[in-house]
Structures are given as C-alpha cells and as structure tokens.
C-alpha cells in the first residue's frame, strides 16, 4: 500500500517548482516589451522579430544544426559498432584499453577534452572549422551512443542471432535482419542523445571552432557574458519549445509502440486457430 503523505506531496511540488520555475520565468520574460529585462512593460513579440533579422545568430544556428546532424550520424554508426564489439566481440588484443576509451570520455571534464583535441588539430596542421567540430563531437558522442546501445544488446536473447546463422544467413544478414530491428529503439535514442549533446556543447566547440565557423552556444555564451539580453530570452524560448515538443512526441511514440508490442505478445500467446 503506497502512502502519499503531506511530506511527499510538498517535496514533489517544491522540487518540480525549483526545476521548472526558472525556465518558465525565462519564457515569460521573452515576451517582455522592455529592453530592461527585469521590468515588465507589457506583452510583445518584438525580440522574436529582431532575432529573425540577426544574421549572425541565424548563421550560427545553421552551423550548429549541420554539425549536430553530421556528427550524431557518424557517432551512431561508430558507437553501434563499438557496442557490438564490446558485447559480442569476444576477446581481442587491447580489449581493456578499448572499453576504457569508451567509458573515459563520459567522465572527462570538457575543458580537458577540448584542450587535447585542439592541440592535436594544431599539431597535425588541420584548420579549425566545421570539420574539426564534427570530429570532436563525434568522438565524445559515439561513447554515449555505445553505452546506450550496449545496454540494449546485453539484454537481448543471443539465440535469435544464432538461429539466423544456423539457418544460413551471413553474419551481416543476421545483423541487418535480426539484431538491428531489435536494437533499433536504442540506436535511435543514441542518435537523439548524440544530437542534443552536440547542439548543447559550448566548451569543446569553443576549443575546436575556428574563425570560419561559430556555433550557437558560442554565440549565446559571448552574448550572455555581458548580462541578460531579451534576444537571448527569445532564442532560449524557441529552443525550450523545440525540445519540449520533441521529448513529448518521442515519449508518446515509444509508449504507443510498447503498447503495440504488448498487444502483439498477447496475440502470439493465444493458440493459433
């Protein structure tokens, strides 16, 4: 029997108020007519209009999206391969080093990752720009993808793959026709995670970006260093709205598909007629 005491209700209310109020306030103030961000002077969408005219922000947003799409896609392929090697690869030389390199970037301070990659790019004479940010983002996000995918690989029944192999498929066919459909939800959430991490990254991008390519977080950071600005409030609101819609859609889709899977399972249990 679960008890909802007044204490639990209060801690949940206060906790979620703490988590959400700052963002709600930010959204409300993005519609403030005044340039003074702390004084409310009536409702206005003025800052959204100004934001859409700001070439520098729009360019940075385009670079950011480009980097995020490319790096998360490469990271998903590499991360899935790495997960497969970790879970199904068996023994090979340097396995410990390999798994160490998968887990280390997850706990590495961003300043160190950024610094070390920059020193590498300068050492080999690679000009800093979109390419270097993509390489940097792919490297740390492939590790996140591989953790997400390997947790799914661990939990699924290996005999399904073996059955496919016994029935004459090649290892690649077995992967494509049996394994991949089963791990697909994890691969997709790995991609989404890599995509958001890339969109969000300030520190590593600051080290690896050159004058030819600036990402949105770098632009936002240099703007807010000087203080709160209404244009950034408007930009933040747009980003919060996109994420909220995305996460809610994703969770509804996954709920729907898990319900369908349950129905399928129930249907399969019924004796065939």
């Amino acid at each position: 029997m679960k008890r909802m005491t007044w204490f639990n209700v209060t801690s949940l209310t206060l906790g979620f108020a703490f988590l959400y109020l700052p963002m709600i306030i930010l959204v409300i103030y993005s519609f403030n007519a005044s340039k003074l961000v702390t004084v409310w002077a009536g409702f206005s969408t003025r800052w959204y209009g100004e934001l859409l005219q700001n070439e520098a922000f729009l360019n940075a947003a385009w670079v950011t999206i480009k980097v995020a799409v490319i790096s998360s896609s490469i990271a998903t392929v590499l991360g899935t391969m790495a997960a497969y090697v970790l879970v199904r690869g068996g023994r090979f030389m340097g396995r410990t080093l390999f798994s160490g390199m998968i887990y280390a970037p997850l706990v590495m301070p961003e300043v160190i990752t950024g610094l070390s990659l920059l020193l590498l790019f300068i050492g080999i004479g690679l000009d800093r720009g979109v390419l270097t940010i993509v390489l940097a983002h792919t490297t740390f996000s492939m590790c996140y993808v591989s953790v997400v995918v390997s947790s799914r690989l661990v939990s699924f029944d290996r005999s399904l793959e073996e059955a496919a192999l016994d029935l004459g498929s090649s290892p690649w066919e077995a992967f494509r026709l049996v394994t991949l459909p089963i791990i697909a939800p994890a691969v997709i959430s790995g991609w989404l995670l890599a995509f958001t991490l890339s969109l969000d990254d300030l520190v590593i991008a600051s080290f690896t970006a050159g004058p030819s390519a600036t990402t949105l977080p770098i632009k936002i950071f240099s703007a807010v260093r000087l203080g709160v600005s209404p244009e950034i409030n408007a930009l933040s609101t747009i980003m919060i709205a996109i994420v909220t819609v995305g996460v809610i859609t994703a969770s509804l889709v996954s709920k729907h598909s898990s319900l369908r899977a349950q129905e399928d399972a129930r249907a399969a249990e019924r004796p065939a007629t």
């Binding site: 906790g15 988590l19 590499l78 390999f98 070390s116 020193l119 390489l135 969000d200 520190v203």
Partner: protein
C-alpha cells in the same frame, strides 16, 4: 580471424586512439615543454628522439603550478565547491526521488519524464535562466524587497552562492534518477516490518530506507561531483571574480594568457585528481551490477 570482424573492431578502435588517446599524450607532452612566444606557443619536446627527450623533459610548469598559490587555491576551492554542491544536491534531490518512488503507480512515468526533460534542454540556457533571477535587480531580490525581508538588494549573482545554486539546479536530474531507481526497487514491507517491530517512522527511514538506497546515493553523488569539479560554464556565468574553479583557470590560461604549457599542466593535474573518484565510481557501479546478477 576474418576480415569483417577485424574491420568492425579496427574502425572504432582507431578512431578513439587517434582522437581520444593521442590528444592526451600530446597534452601530457606539452605540459612538459617550455613556454615560447611563437605559434604554436611551446617548444617541441619530441624533436630529437628519445634520448634527447629524457634530457629535455622539464617539470618547470609543474613547479610553477606548485609555487604559485593561485593554482593550489583553485584546486582546493574546486574540490570544496564540488563537495558542498554535491551534498546540497543530495539534500534537495533525495526528498524528490523519495516522493516519486512513493507516488501512485500511474503518475510515475510522467514524473520521470518531468525529471528528464530539463536534461534535454540546453545546459547553457538553464544556467543563463538564473542570471535574470539572481541579479541585483532580479526577480529574487524584487521578491525579497517586496516582502520587506531586506531593504536593499542582496548580492547573490557573481558569488559562490550563485555557483552552488547553478550546480544544484543543473545536476539535480543526475542525483534524482539513480536514487529513484534504488528506492523504486525497495520493498516497502521492510519498512512496515520495522515499524511493527517498534521503530518510529523516522527510525525506520534512517535504519532501513537510507541504507538500502545507499547505492543510488553513491552513484548520484559521483555523477554530480565528477563533472562539477571541472565545471566551466557555471562559475564563469554565475560566479564572480572571487570564484576560483580549475576549469575556469584552465580556460583563462589558454584563451587569455595563451600559456599552453601551463594550461596543459593544469589539465594533467586535474586529471590526476579526478582519477580517484572515477575509480571509486567504477567500483561502485561494478559492485551494483554484480549484486543484480
């Protein structure tokens, strides 16, 4: 060994070697070289082969770090800020995780999503949101003065207090989720048994619930402590000139002073400090995984 398996292993392996391990070796190498006023602003140490390397190795940057107390203070103050904010996050996060685990079954998926949602929103924006609230003319001070609690604005933004608030706020989901996972598995009849045997509700909580959620507490604390130690964005936006954190020092050494060898030495020491909590965290995760099997 067939070619396909070899390629499957080699591609991610080589990628990580080239873009994760080798860059580290470079940082380590540069931390041992002299500062030079050139581009790149350091003298190469590996130029003349291995024998020359040994004789050229130069711990100047490290002795410099040890002699200048700015760096000592920055390391100590990062450790202190990370530790205090981990404890604060635990104190804020535990009751929320507890409330979630005790909530009716049908609410839990929604509550869980509400905890995860901020994690998907930009970190930078979540930190930025507090700048408007904590500033001298900000909402918090307007509220406090409106209620007559203080007559003049409190200086919160650009102090360590703001840094604590920022860390607790942004890392809260990392604390809540592992504790919730531990509490969710907890069999409530154990608490009832303790109460039947004469414990008060409070005693049952301390003697049964807390010890059984220990793994979640430990995992959550490391997940907050480790990234907080190297944090850069929060101290630079919310902290003031008095806020010393090593991530910020490294950044400034690199971008403002352009002293690459010293920045690399700062990175090497930060890494050495982090190795202990990281190993402890790995051990805890492994123990937990073994316990589950």
């Amino acid at each position: 060994m067939n070619l396909r398996r070899f390629a499957l292993i080699a591609v991610p392996y080589i990628w990580l070697l080239a873009l994760f391990l080798i860059p580290f070796i470079i940082v380590f190498k540069i931390s041992l070289s002299d500062t030079a006023l050139s581009i790149p602003p350091y003298t190469p140490t590996l130029k003349d082969g291995f024998a020359a390397l040994i004789s050229q190795l130069d711990f100047e940057n490290f002795t410099f770090l040890a002699s200048d107390d700015l760096y000592w203070k920055a390391y100590l103050s990062s450790l202190r800020i990370a530790l205090v904010s981990t404890i604060l996050t635990l104190l804020v996060g535990y009751p929320i995780a507890y409330g979630m685990a005790r909530a009716p079954e049908e609410w839990r998926a929604t509550l869980m999503m509400l905890v995860i949602l901020p994690f998907w929103t930009s970190f930078l924006i979540r930190v930025y949101a507090w700048m408007g609230i904590l500033s001298n003319e900000g909402l918090l001070n307007q509220l406090l003065m409106g209620m007559g609690l203080t007559s003049e604005p409190l200086q919160i933004l650009n102090t360590n207090t703001a840094v604590y608030i920022g860390i607790v706020y942004t890392y809260l989901p990392f604390m809540i989720l592992p504790i919730y996972a531990a509490l969710d598995r907890l069999d409530e009849s154990l608490n009832e048994a303790a109460e039947d045997l004469g414990c008060s509700r409070m005693q049952a909580f301390w003697l049964v619930t807390i010890p059984l959620s220990r793994n979640g507490i430990v995992a959550g604390s490391f997940l907050v402590f480790i990234p907080a130690l190297g944090e850069f964005v929060i101290p630079s936006l919310l902290g003031g000139s008095g806020t010393l954190m090593i991530g910020k020092v490294l950044w400034e050494e690199f971008f403002n002073n352009r002293d690459w060898p010293v920045a690399s030495a700062v990175a090497v020491i930060l890494l050495l400090i982090l190795i202990i909590p990281i190993i402890l965290f790995q051990r805890n995760q492994q123990k937990q995984a073994e316990a589950e099997q």
